[in-house]
Symmetry: C2
Subunit: 303 residues, 2 copies
DNA sequence: CATGTTCTTTGACTTTAGTCAAAGAACATG
DNA sequence: CATGTTCTTTGACTAAAGTCAAAGAACATG
């Protein structure tokens, strides 16, 4: 974005909320307290208990950003208390796996119960209608904050993240449509690099959660393809952001119009395209999987 | 409230939001970091910088809940770094006053600038319309969370908190209406205790922020008086909660109807009474300051 | 199979955060 | 003005949190 600066009042509003929330309400999530356990140990135990199948120390280390020695000692302490069990990794004997014991699971469950009770106590003060309003406002805020925290980056079409997204896209279409999906229909890295096209990957907390490709159909005409959003990142409005990035890239590449095709059953996608200024047109190309075609006139390049 | 339990889904929603927010967004408010300063010192410096006129160590201690020795050492450290200045209290030589130096103020300002930049960076990723939506959702959430965190407690009408609220109420009316307000018109402690009546004070973080009184007009008929909310706690919906508490108390005291009077210029209050089931009636008593009268039928006592 | 890399453990630290009690100065009160 | 109280400082601790480097076992690779 960055076309015009964010109003100071909005910045202040976010910080105000932030301060209020972390100080007053965030304390609810201190289920860590209560049990007379150091915070570090409690946090670690929670992280371990979230994966009943076991985690490697290595993953814990990178997840929690802990020093190897520090982590080693803490897990040992938890083991001595009978809360976790350590074992060797089946395939790699350098790695050690940790999993919660029943006792460890009980402690975590108990803490969660207490945190739930605290949260319920807070909500209980509100009349049902207001409670519903609060829950809705929080859902909206979380949705928008997630969207804001996602970045849409131009990447090489051959990069692992790009390929991973395209694979997920292909697998999803393949599973969804009876006719299946042939991977050879995916764009190649050469088509979406440099002056010819572009490839964007959306990242949430370092993980790729969406993509979109732009390639040149003919001079002045771009084609948008493979707009995909990870199931867990849907309904945030991410597809629109990817679309906007692709259109901007098309404009920068002297396109005056972009086209795309989509499938009749994807009614949501069609609604989004229409809302974004696309109009339906006759078939411009004979893709196997599309049966509806759209195009949008782009504004001229910036003066 | 507590008439029926809070749905588990709403509890989960609050905790989900809480977790997401503190983990992902709350980090924004870690302006403490960046400067290579221990958290305790940074927190203390911020607290001191908020009061350019100076604070006593005593107040800081109670505000931050710190040990006297610990606080003494930390202020000394800040003084050694040239960030705060210590002096004696003009009236009481036991107390020591702390105030920020220009250097201390600069550091705090700089940290705030960084936190603003982080927040702006996050908001910048959203289109203006969505940003406005986010700000509104946060405002709604904060309003309702504040309301939820306020308790409405039955207290003795003679308690200092009760008298403080009544004084504020009287002062406000006195300032607001040309005819002034005569304190002798306030309810006496005896009228609002035991079987005769009730007095409620609303507390937010330990501070009284509202009140309301119930007294007996005649057998079966209660009168609600002095419903007041602190200016900083208005527009949260607190008056309705106080009203609900008073009505419940009236029901418990075998009242079948409650009455109240209000002033024509308080249009918001009148709207609230109507929305809460009150209907306008002719004057039932000759108070000096009221010119509109309302009553509400209460449900019979619980079976 | 030699060599470099990855992963964990261990020992030896440091800093932060916080507690407790004693002592002294200043004030408040009868 | 003696006595108790309040407030701050200081000394002497402790526990938690974290850092750094060395060492050894297991794996990966040419």
């Amino acid at each position: 974005m960055s076309t015009q600066p964010v109003p100071a009042e909005q910045v202040a509003a976010l910080r105000r909320f932030n301060r209020y929330f972390t100080r007053r309400i965030g304390a609810l999530e201190d289920h860590y307290l209560g049990q007379d356990r150091p915070l570090g140990e409690a946090r670690l135990l929670f992280e371990i208990a979230e994966r009943p199948g076991g985690v490697s120390l290595r993953e814990l280390r990178s997840r929690l950003g802990l020093d190897a020695g520090y982590l080693s000692r803490m897990t040992k302490a938890l083991e001595a208390q009978g809360l976790v069990r350590l074992s060797a990794h089946p395939d790699d004997n350098r790695l050690r796996m940790v999993e919660p014991t029943p006792a460890g699971r009980v402690e975590v469950t108990e803490q969660n119960r207490r945190a739930d009770a605290l949260a319920a106590g807070l909500l209980d003060a509100l009349a049902p209608g207001r409670r519903a309003q609060l829950v809705e406002a929080m859902a909206t805020a979380q949705r928008l904050l997630r969207l804001a925290a996602i970045t849409v980056d131009l990447v090489d079409g051959a990069s692992p993240d790009a390929r991973a997204c395209l694979d997920a896209y292909a697998a999803e279409i393949d599973a969804r449509f009876p006719e299946g999906f042939d991977k050879s229909d995916l764009v190649g890295p050469a088509e979406v690099s440099g002056e010819a096209g572009a490839f964007f990957v959306a990242y949430e907390e370092g993980r790729p959660v969406g993509c979109g490709a732009l390639r040149r159909l003919e001079p002045g005409v771009g084609e948008i393809r493979h707009v995909w959003v990870h199931p867990e990142a849907r309904r945030l409005g991410l597809a629109r952001r990817i679309l906007a990035a692709l259109e901007e890239a098309a404009t920068a590449r002297d396109c005056t119009v972009v086209r795309l095709d989509t499938h009749a059953s994807l009614t949501e996608a069609q609604a989004m395209y229409r809302a974004s200024g696309y109009t339906e047109i006759p078939a411009y190309v004979d893709h196997v999987y599309g049966d509806h075609w759209f195009e949008k006139q782009l504004p001229g390049p910036a003066v």
